[in-house]
Amino acid sequence: DVKVTQSSRYLVKRTGEKVFLECVQDMDHENMFWYRQDPGLGLRLIYFSYDVKMKEKGDIPEGYSVSREKKERFSLILESASTNQTSMYLCASSSGGGRNEQYFGPGTRLTVT
């Protein structure tokens, strides 16, 4: 079974802190994605990556950056956390071939106070 793990289920940070969210997948997938999910707004794509050291902006990249130094790991960085970044953050990966199904991690509930 594909497994996507995220470093924390719940995280509380203060305004202005630098925050790192880590995602690891164990299926040698090419593609990795970071979303945030908010009530009434659904899933919104922040950044995605098709290869190591490669990244592309999604729909809401402002205030975020990403890092993909190894194929299995995709990190989301909040350079200076703000209260409007309080959200559920979901990581996903896909193989890039065949059905290209996205497999999701369990999510990180981030609260910025």
């Binding site: 593609n31 009434g40 899933l43 290209n100 999701f104």
Partner: protein, 114 residues
């Protein structure tokens, strides 16, 4: 206008009811259509996957795609309390560099009561 529109509900039905969930979209390049199910405090999981137009059935679930109307549906027969979840439609194109990117609806929250 969002590329994918989905009524967020909430939708509440009695056990045994037939449930119909729908999405519309605007991008005619979309070729692959999916339904994800998300239980509370979990990540979404793929429920149904269809390519182009037509129907696909899997147990109590039927996915329909009408590309001429840019409309997709998910039907749940004999709904059960365990079907209570948020259902998200998703779709993607097979063109260009954004090959793997999915476009999601906002999700419909479904509750099936005993």
């Amino acid at each position: 206008q969002k590329e994918v529109e989905q009524d967020p509900g909430p939708l509440s039905v009695p056990e045994g009811a037939i449930v119909s969930l729908n999405c519309t979209y605007s991008n005619s390049a979309f070729q692959y259509f999916m339904w994800y199910r998300q239980y509370s405090r979990k990540g979404p999981e793929l429920l149904m996957y269809t390519y182009s137009s037509g129907n696909k059935e899997d147990g109590r679930f039927t996915a329909q795609v009408d590309k001429s109307s840019k409309y997709i549906s998910l039907f749940i027969r004999d709904s059960q309390p365990s079907d209570s979840a948020t259902y998200l439609c998703a779709m993607r194109s097979n063109r260009g560099s954004t090959l793997g990117r999915l476009y999601f609806g906002r999700g419909t929250q479904l509750t099936v009561w005993p």
